[in-house]
């Protein structure tokens, strides 16, 4: 947005108030992105702080001609999250889940009941747990598309992959997420 670019210009000119405005405007999105990746409020806050420190230090590298500030910010955040995961070695492959759990097919007949249950029960925790079980590649596209409302082109720009890859990952990510959620609900019902 033009407002963001103006704020960035003022930040680069040493205007602290502009930085505060920029931070106030974007910190919630980045915090949510971090929270969806980590599932922990404290960890998400630490990561958000680290992301904004990085943004503050590299603000000069932002080029308005190459895209919006929010896309650039998301890219910085995403790269930081990937680095973080590499560091703590918490990546999990979806395949491992499949080994642990029972076979995915055949599926039960479509029903609206589980969705209502998700809404009624502790939705947040359940969704967060399901997201944590997704592989990082799929998790990030699902979060960026369905929770951060980025379009395919923006996601492609943030991740540095072709749009086709983004679509494919989203497709697989949603499918996998739906399966995990249903499985978790089924398991809880049995317990």
């Amino acid at each position: 947005m033009a407002e963001d670019q103006e704020l960035v210009k003022r930040c680069l000119a040493g205007d602290d108030a502009a930085w505060e405005t920029l931070l106030t405007f974007h910190h919630r999105k980045i915090y949510n992105l971090c929270y969806r990746f980590t599932g922990s409020g404290t960890e998400a806050e630490d990561l958000t702080q680290e992301v904004f420190i990085k943004v503050f230090q590299t603000l000069r590298t932002f080029d308005p001609l190459q895209g919006q500030f929010s896309t650039w910010l998301n890219r910085v955040a995403r790269n930081h999250l990937v680095d973080h995961y590499r560091k703590v070695s918490r990546d999990r492959a979806t395949a491992s889940l499949d080994d642990e759990e029972e076979g995915l097919h055949p599926r039960a007949a479509p029903s609206a009941e589980p969705a209502t249950q998700v809404e009624d029960r502790e939705r947040k925790e359940l969704l967060q747990a399901a997201l944590a079980r997704l592989s990082p590649d799929m998790r990030e596209v699902v979060i960026l598309r369905d929770l951060q409302d980025l379009d395919y082109a923006e996601i492609a720009q943030v991740l540095g992959v072709p749009e086709g890859t983004v679509k494919s990952r989203i497709n697989r990510g949603r499918l996998e997420l739906g399966r995990i959620l249903k499985r978790m609900l089924k398991k809880e019902r049995l317990e």
């Binding site: 931070l23 949510n32 409020g41 055949p106 039960a108 479509p110 969704l127 929770l147 494919s168 739906g178």
Partner: protein
């Protein structure tokens, strides 16, 4: 349409992003393939769950924390500080102190005869100020003292005159001086006159005393 093709188009189909022909092919396949229907249901279930997800609120001090880590604590501009200053300045203690300071300054300026419209360097000399304030202050005190003594003298004079007026009328009928039956009036009269004379002497001495006080007051006015 194959299972693989359908699985790749599930998202587009769910979002209504497929063209009519492709969507019809998908619907046809889904109607006959339970496995693909189950996959579509999984995708739609995930979408419903994601769309109902609410944003998580960060702690209120997160912004402050990041600001401290980046720019440090920013000093607010004077416009942002103004409400705080006003709150401080309108406290009764401050208002009273400022009023007293203004009053004291005005008093000093008045007593030292400093004309703010025509200030001269010579007049701003603290020695001149002190000298003038001192003499003017003394004059003010002396005037106030004189006024006080004048007023006191007038009141005392009035009270003495009132006493003198009241005494002759109260003497004859006074129960303290009953008339003796069968004469002796000359004795009584002489004693009355004597008492009156005694009273008058006392009053006169009082007047003299008060006059002396008044004169002393006047003398104090003389520089």
């Amino acid at each position: 349409m194959t299972h693989w093709e359908v699985s790749n188009l599930l998202t587009d189909y769910s979002e209504g992003a497929l063209d009519r022909a492709r969507a019809a092919q998908m619907a046809e396949h889904l109607a006959s393939c339970e496995e693909c229907r189950a996959m579509l249901d999984d995708v739609q279930f995930a979408l419903r769950a994601l769309r109902t997800a609410e944003d998580v609120e960060p702690s209120p001090w997160l912004v402050r924390r990041i600001l401290q880590a980046t720019t440090g604590e920013r000093k607010p501009k004077w416009v942002e500080r103004l409400p705080g200053w006003m709150q401080w300045a309108l406290r009764p203690q401050v208002v009273y102190t400022v009023s007293m300071a203004v009053f004291s300054l005005s008093f000093i300026l008045y007593t030292s005869r400093v004309n703010l419209q025509a200030v001269e360097l010579r007049k701003l000399n603290p020695t001149t100020w002190v000298y003038r304030a001192n003499s003017r202050g003394h004059l003010l005190v002396a005037r106030a003292e004189k006024f006080y003594y004048d007023l006191r003298f007038v009141y005392e004079l009035e009270s003495i005159l009132r006493q003198l007026k009241q005494q002759p009328s109260s003497q004859p009928g006074s129960p303290q001086n009953p008339q003796k039956p069968g004469g002796g009036s000359s004795d009584i009269q002489s004693s009355d006159v004597g008492q009156l004379a005694l009273g008058s002497t006392q009053d006169l001495s009082a007047i003299q005393f008060r006059e002396t006080t008044w004169q002393r007051g006047r003398r104090s006015l003389t520089p």
